[in-house]
Every structure is written in C-alpha cells, then in structure tokens.
C-alpha cells in the first residue's frame, strides 16, 4: 500500500502511523512545509510552545508520564540549538523522543546559509542517534526507524534533520512492515545462567537490599508490578534512585526511601552495610555512590541493565545481567517461585532490626515553626492534600527538587518527572505542560524554586492557550537555595550571586498570563490555600514564601561515603562548623 505524497506530508503520515497524537513545536522557515501539512489535517495535534527547549521538556514530561515517545518539531539554526538542552536532558535520563529539525535545502548545506547549523554534528553527543535525510526515498524508513531506535534498548532522543527541499519533494510513502533498524538489536532477555546465579546469591543473602532506578520505569508498568512481586516474595528492603521513584510504592514498609546524596539515613546505611546488592535498572551514578572506594564495601552485587556500557563502568559487579528489567524480573520471579527459594529468615530478621534502628533516627524530621513556613512542611501538606487524587509531579532543580523527592510518596510509576542526570533548571514547567496534555483530568503540579521557574516561565502562556490547568508551586526562599547550601559547605558562606534579587511579583505574573496567582506566607493558611489551588481549574502560580535559611538534609557531601552522611541536626549535635565538613579535595568535586 504505497501512496504518493510530499516529504512534509510523509512526516505527518508517519507520525500518525506511529500512533502519535501530540507534537510539541515551534515554526520557522525551514519547517514551513511541515507546518502546512499540519494545517491540512487534524489527526496529529500540534502544541505551540514558547521556546524550543520548552518543547523538548514538554515532550519529556509527556513521554515519562505516559510511557509513549515524545515528539518535537523545530526549525533549523536557532530552533535546533534552542532544543539542545532538552535533548541533552533526555539523553541523560533515557527518555524516548523523536525530534524533527528543519534544515536548509540540501544544495545550500555547508554554505553558511541563513539559519544553517550542523545539527547532526551538534546533536551527535546529546542524542542516542541522529539522521540527516538527503533523499526522499530514505524518508519513510528513517522516520519509522527513529521511533524504533528511540524506544528500544536504552531509550533516548533521536534527531531527524530534514532539509527543506526534501520536505517539498514528492515520493512514495510506504509504511514499513516493521520499523526495526536493520542491525540494531538490543538484548532484552537476560542470560539464564546469570539469573540463576543471582537467585542463588539472593537466597543466601544475610543483609540484602534492592537498589532500583529509572530503568524499571522505562521498562513499563509491568516491570513495576513484577518488582513489587519479587520484593514481597523475598522480604528484602528496597531503595530507589531519584529517577526510579514510584516503581515501588513509597508507603510500603519494605521501602527505605530514596538513596544517594540526599537520600535517607536508612537507605544509605543499608547500601553501606549490605552483603548482597540487587541493582535493577540503575547506573551507579555519582549522586548515588558518593566516594567510590568506600561504596558498599561488603557487598556482592547483581546488576540488571539493558545497556551493557552501564555495567562495570564505575562500580564492579559480580553478576551482570544485560537485559530489559521487565524480562529479567519475570525470570527472577519465576525462578524464585519454581525453586521454592526461601530467604534466610533469621538473618533477615536481624537485618530488618538494624534497619529499623536507622529508621528510628527519623532523618527527614525537621523543626517546624508556627511563624514561617518550612519548605518541608509545605511539601508534606501538599502531599497530604493531593495524595488521594491522580497526581503527577514535576520539579525544577535545587533544594525544592530534593525535598519533593523526600517528602512526596509516590505509589505508582510515571507520576514523577524530574531532571535527574542533567539537572536542568527550567525542566519542570514545560514537563508539567506535557504531562497535563497526556492526562487531561489529572492534577499536575510543578514543584519549583523561584530561580528555576524563571528559566522556562514563558511556557505559562502555552498552558493558558491549551487550557492546561497546571499548578506551579514555588517554594520561594529568595535564594538559589542549593547554591547557597553549597556555598555554606564549601566557600565559607560567601553567597556569591546566589541571592534571588529583583524577583517578580509571582501573583501578578500569573495574572498577567491569564492564570491565577496565590501567595501564602503563614503556616496556618497553607492548607486552605493549597485547596484553593487544587480547586481552580486553571493554571495557577502558587508563591509559597518559605524559610530562607533551610538546608536540605540528609546530605552526603562530595567525596564522602554513605556512612559519612550529614543529618539536619548535625550542627546542633556536634557543634561542628558546616564549612569544615568538606576537605580540600572534596571541594574539587561537583
């Protein structure tokens, strides 16, 4: 079934054939034919953003909250370069995206034409793969292949750079029977011998811990279900990375909370003391491991990852299993049941005893105040008042992001969108736009900082245009709080350029965009105002004025090990000077 059409029409057709309903984009000279094709149809809805970076983050929010690939359309030159930060973000967090960029006509490539840039050259390092399509014959295959590559194996962003003359050319469109790449075949099924060895190791473990990550989310809802089953079967404790939150219900007793730099005391100490670590879909990121040579010194390690290059990259493992989390988990659950494996009950009881001891330290406790809103309190209230709804949370980057990860309890996968690997301020608002589009009836909240929010603020206008009632909840501490915290730790409290000077009036700003502005500075009024925010069916900016001095704890300072965590009452207890906690070598690290 082949049809004759232009390159521009092929783009829309291929998107439709891939089941794409929404694309995020911004027009320009080099994509006008595609915009004309969009004009002539109504199957694929185009969401007009206000900045190309916003388009990519929106597509990321869409993808992460729905499990479907996100699609972006931008013009050549500045359109493409504006999209770079988003692509790099998606690359780091393994988000499946297809980004179509316009390019100058083929005969002008290389001539420094108006709005020409070497898009495939520039994006080579921040995409999983990219294509420059130089002939109309290649276009249908490349478009479908792009979706295959973006979604299969370790997901990631794929760029298709499309010169304008190819968009005008007429050719034959055939939907390929399979959109597979001709040779790219990532391994999804784990090696059974290794899985067997893993089960054996787990059954004999005395102090085991599951350490799971974004790979479980990427593997689909089924992977989360299987993970829950395996964790219940074994009775082992489980901790999760920032990217993996929600794969396992946070309210469950076996869940120790997030681990890593701002992880819980119990999660990090369990990692430090464990004898068997079962890493499923996480990558031993430096925010997780802290000082490598002191990382989990007593453990044998199992690592399940779809990307072989993640295995043994920084941390040596004993049993590597290359494969997709859901596939491997399925085998693990079956093998555990078949062999009627039993955990070492007595040892486990001891282990849980130890863990409960750490837990009782209540590391997320804080001293609340009746006068000023503590950021932790604000998030606890936000959580309590939204937990019974279908709620999706995105964040910006900073202290508020870490507090959100600590105080929000995610029960389901795909409910949590944050920029983990790239740490991109400005991610949260457009990501909320994308998530709201994918879930029109859900409550979507961007937990923001007053500094981060100003990086992609223009996307408020997008939210208004498409009636997306997103809520921007700003923990306004008038500081780039995370920067201030590091300056206290590393630079003697010299707050160089980290004060948020000349802040806009966020309430008026919300109103200027046509949304609703709410301000709160009294703990006593918080609940009522949060409810007011939830009940408005329009975009809201909530300016929550919080304690300006609060720091985010627990914290493993750079260059320290899991058992050298700082707790929030650290200073009170030891009387130590916060500026002396990190030594000279640690200051070199980020």
């Amino acid at each position: 079934m082949s049809e004759t059409m232009t390159g521009a029409e092929m783009v829309i057709r291929a998107l439709h054939d891939q089941g794409v309903e929404h694309i995020f984009g911004y027009p320009g000279g080099a994509v006008l034919p595609i915009y004309d094709a969009i004009f002539h149809q109504d199957k694929v809805q185009h969401i007009l953003v206000r900045h190309e970076q916003g388009a990519v983050h929106a597509a990321e929010g869409y993808a992460r909250s729905s499990g479907k690939p996100g699609v972006v359309l931008v013009t050549s030159g500045p359109g493409a370069t504006n999209a770079i930060t988003g692509l790099a973000d998606a690359m780091m967090d393994s988000i499946p995206l297809v980004c179509i960029t316009g390019q100058v006509p083929t005969h002008l490539i290389g001539s420094d034409a108006f709005q020409e840039c070497d898009t495939v050259g520039i994006t080579r390092h921040c995409t999983k793969h990219n294509y420059l399509v130089k002939s109309i014959e290649d276009l249908p295959r490349v478009l479908h292949e792009a979706f295959y590559v973006a979604q299969n194996g370790r997901p990631g962003p794929v760029v298709v750079d499309l010169p304008k003359d190819i968009q005008f050319k007429t050719g034959t469109y055939v939907r390929p029977l399979s959109n597979q790449h001709k040779t790219y075949r990532p391994t999804v099924k784990g090696d059974m011998d290794h899985i067997r060895a893993a089960i054996e190791l787990m059954a004999n473990a005395k102090r085991p811990v599951f350490y799971t990550g974004g790979g479980v989310i990427n593997s689909g809802v089924h992977a989360s279900t299987l993970l829950r089953e395996l964790v219940h079967l074994t009775g082992f404790p489980i901790t999760s990375t920032l990217m993996g939150l929600g794969a396992y219900p946070a309210s469950d007793k076996q869940f120790l909370g997030m681990l890593g730099m701002h992880g819980t005391y119990e999660a990090n100490l369990a990692m430090h003391e464990c004898d068997v670590m079962i890493n499923i879909g996480a990558r031993f990121d430096d925010r997780i491991t802290g000082r490598l040579d002191a990382f989990s010194p007593f453990s044998k390690r199992i690592h399940v990852d779809i990307d072989p290059s993640s295995i043994n990259k920084t941390v040596k493992v004993d049993i590597p299993i290359v494969g997709d989390c859901a596939h491997v988990l399925e085998d693990m659950v079956r093998l555990w049941r078949q062999s009627a494996q039993q955990s070492d009950k007595v040892a486990l009881q001891d282990w849980w005893g130890k863990i409960e001891g750490w837990r009782s330290r209540n590391c997320l406790g804080y001293r609340n105040s009746a006068e000023t809103i503590k950021p932790q309190y604000a998030l606890q209230r936000l959580y309590e008042l939204t937990k019974d709804r279908e709620t999706y949370i995105s964040t910006e980057v900073g202290q508020h992001q870490m507090w959100a990860a600590q105080y929000f309890k995610f029960e389901e996968p795909n409910r949590w969108m944050t920029s983990g690997g790239h740490g991109t301020m400005g991610y949260g608002l457009p990501a909320a736009v994308g998530a709201q589009l994918a879930h029109p009836n859900a409550l979507v909240i961007d937990i923001a900082g007053e500094a981060s929010i100003q990086m992609m603020l223009q996307e408020m206008s997008t939210a208004l245009q498409y009636n997306l009632p997103i809520k921007v909840f700003i923990l306004n501490n008038e500081y780039m709080g995370m920067v201030r915290q590091w300056q206290e730790l590393l630079h003697g409290g010299r707050y160089s350029q980290s004060y948020s000077e000349s802040l806009p009036d966020f309430v008026k700003l919300a109103e200027a965009y046509g949304g609703v502005g709410i301000r709160c500075d009294k703990p006593g009024e918080l609940d009522a105002k949060i409810l007011e925010m939830i009940n408005v069916n329009r975009p809201v900016i909530f300016d929550c004025l919080v304690d300006k001095q609060e720091n985010c704890f627990p914290m493993i300072p750079s260059g320290k090990a899991h058992n050298e965590m700082l707790l929030n009452d650290y200073l009170g207890e030891t009387g130590a000077d916060i500026s002396s906690v990190i030594d000279e070598k640690g200051k070199m690290l980020v």
Binding site: G121, S309, K313
Partner: protein
C-alpha cells in the same frame, strides 16, 4: 569517622595499561567516523591509530581498526560504548582474541647525495622496502610492517635525509581459520 585519604573520581587502584587493537564493523553511513572519533574524544580515551575503509561495497559496510591504550576496565568500557552506537555491528578486541596479525604501510621520501644516498638504499633493502620513485637526489620508499618496524625504519631514515612520511595506521586481523563474520564465505 573513618580517615579518608582519597576521593572519587581519582582512581584508587593503579591498574596497568595495555595496547589493544579493536576491529569495528560499521554501517558506512555519513557521520559514522565522526561518531566513533567523537566517542573517544568525548569520553577521554586515546586513539593511537585509526584506519577505515569500506570493505563490503554492496552492503555499505566499513571496517575500522583502532589502536588504543587503557586498563582492562577502560578497554571493556570502550568496547561497550562503541557497541552502544546504532551503526556499529560488532566490535572485536583483536588483542584479546590472541595474537593478531598487524601491519601498516608507510611511504617515506629521502633526499640526499653521496654517502647519505648510498646508506638510504642499503637501509631500504635491509628492511625490504620497495622503491616507488627515484630521482637523482631523492627516493620514495614503501615499507609494510608492524608499527615497530615502521618506527625503526623512519628513525633510521631520519639520519640519511628523510623529508616526508605518510603512514596508513594499523590494519589487523586475527590469526587462524576463523573469520570475523560479515562476509559470506
């Protein structure tokens, strides 16, 4: 609190580095070489030598030979990172598969008269180099050999009027009856 001496990302173990020759089979599509070279520079790996040409025209498949050095774990990372690239079909570490045959070709131009000229001719014949061009004052020699042989040849020729060198970099193949695949027998 433990007394800490080191911090990541400083390597704590000092592992020995070795020279490895990798054969990489790739789709010969635009940008594939940039992808591979960019991977090495972006992740801080060395390239000591790089050779590439399409080896199967029908299938548009190229074979890239890269000589690199690194610790065992770095070499394993390089291999995994290369395999992650979409157009890469296979990566074989020829150094691990047993002693591979490695050759490179070099062209050298020597200019001189009298004793220098005579000595250049003697050296060339001692190394088994072929004479590709000769004038009354110059020679162009071709030598094929291991990297070490080529290095020695060039060093000696420097003393007798070397003015120009062109080298291909290493081409390599595993010994024995087994093929690396790709080509149908």
């Amino acid at each position: 609190m433990l007394q800490m001496k080191t911090h990541y990302p400083d390597a704590t173990r000092v592992e020995p580095s070795h020279r490895h020759t990798l054969a990489i089979i790739v789709d010969n599509e635009p940008g594939v070489l940039a992808r591979i070279a960019g991977l090495f520079s972006g992740r801080g790996y060395n390239i000591e030598s790089l050779t590439v040409t399409e080896t199967e025209h029908e299938a548009h498949i190229s074979r890239i030979t890269i000589v690199t050095t690194g610790t065992d774990s770095i070499i394993q990372q390089i291999k995994s990172q290369l395999e992650r690239l979409v157009p890469v079909h296979r990566v074989v570490d020829l150094t691990l598969t047993g002693e591979a045959v490695e050759r490179e070709l070099c062209l050298v131009k020597v200019v001189g008269k009298g004793d220098h000229r005579v000595e250049a001719m003697r050296l060339a014949s001692a190394f088994g180099a072929r004479t590709l061009d000769a004038t009354l004052t110059s020679f162009v020699y071709e030598l094929t050999g291991t990297t070490d042989e080529v290095e020695r040849f060039i060093k000696l020729m420097t003393a007798v009027g070397l003015v120009e060198v062109s080298r291909t970099g290493v081409a390599a193949m595993a010994r024995g009856a087994e093929g690396m695949g790709g080509l149908s027998p």
